[in-house]
Symmetry: C2
Subunit: 185 residues, 2 copies
């Protein structure tokens, strides 16, 4: 059975999507474990840290944007944002020209926590990083995951990937500042 328009067989489609399902499960389970371990000393869960991440990179972001860029339900985005607000890491606000949406902003205490977490990152406790070192040794750089980005761009849209890439440009700049700070110590 060949889909004439797209020229793929149902077998090919099935095997590809099943491969991706099992690979992404295995990848995510490893990422999830390391991520939880990394942020545990700060008493945050992955969604909370992800919300702080988004609030840090996108100044003044709405709950629905947090849900979109954080790949979580709006209710999850709201509930965990609320918990971060109670801890003084975020503040909620309304915009003058948009009374319907709730916006969040990271507080100075939130920024401080976020930077502290970044500073405690240790690549040697990160399995995906260590797993990619063989590729780095071989090619001289880490994988760019272009296929995954292409697939996610189709699923979540151009905006999602553009915002994702912008946040990494932002980290690049920031990290240089943190490195300089650490180097001076």
């Amino acid at each position: 059975m060949i889909d004439q328009k797209n020229e793929y067989s149902i077998k090919e489609a099935f095997i590809f999507s099943q491969r991706m399902a099992l690979l992404s499960k295995a990848l995510w389970k490893s990422v999830e474990k390391d991520w939880q371990h990394w942020i545990k000393p700060f008493d945050l869960n992955i969604n909370e840290h992800h919300i702080l991440w988004i609030a840090h990179h996108l100044k003044g972001v709405s709950i629905s944007e947090i849900a979109k860029y954080g790949v979580m339900h709006v209710s999850t985005a709201f509930n965990f944002s609320k918990k971060l607000e109670e801890r003084g890491l975020l503040v909620f606000s309304k915009k003058e020209d948009d009374k319907r949406n709730t916006y969040v902003e990271i507080t100075p205490k939130g920024e401080e926590t976020f930077i502290q977490i970044m500073e405690t990152f240790d690549p040697n406790t990160n399995a995906v990083f260590k797993g990619a070192l063989a590729i780095h040794d071989f090619y001289g750089k880490f994988p760019d995951a272009m296929e995954i980005i292409t697939i996610l761009r189709q699923i979540y849209g151009k905006d999602f990937i553009d915002t994702f890439e912008k946040s990494f440009e932002h980290i690049d700049q920031e990290f240089t500042e943190i490195e300089n700070k650490v180097a001076k110590k």
Copy 2:
């Protein structure tokens, strides 16, 4: 800060591992949603279906092997296997030469359910598949996800990936049989 031995900077390490974390979260959330939707009519969850998958491809598999190849805790593997046993989809047994481990085997009813699920697979409801069609149109084939496989091989070991690949060779053969059956209908 350059790690002299491996020639990567901490910034590079941080950015790579964070990119992979966020990408794998977004990928998994999409996979999880479609997987749940696909197996819902059969009243199974992802771990249960994954256990059936493993029991189908590896004849006579231990609970610890299910945990390993299914990327789940041993207790999760045991509890969900138990539920499948209660539904008559698996049977538990002990081996003559290995009384300490529990082995599971898929029953004829389990096989029937497993094949039925395969037959209801519709690529058009699978976002990762649809997301990869642009790559297929461009390159003439679906991504092989080699970078991910390399990383997972380092994390979970050679055995894990070899078994993974063998199960897909197995599916390839089986699917041809199912296609022939469907074509005759």
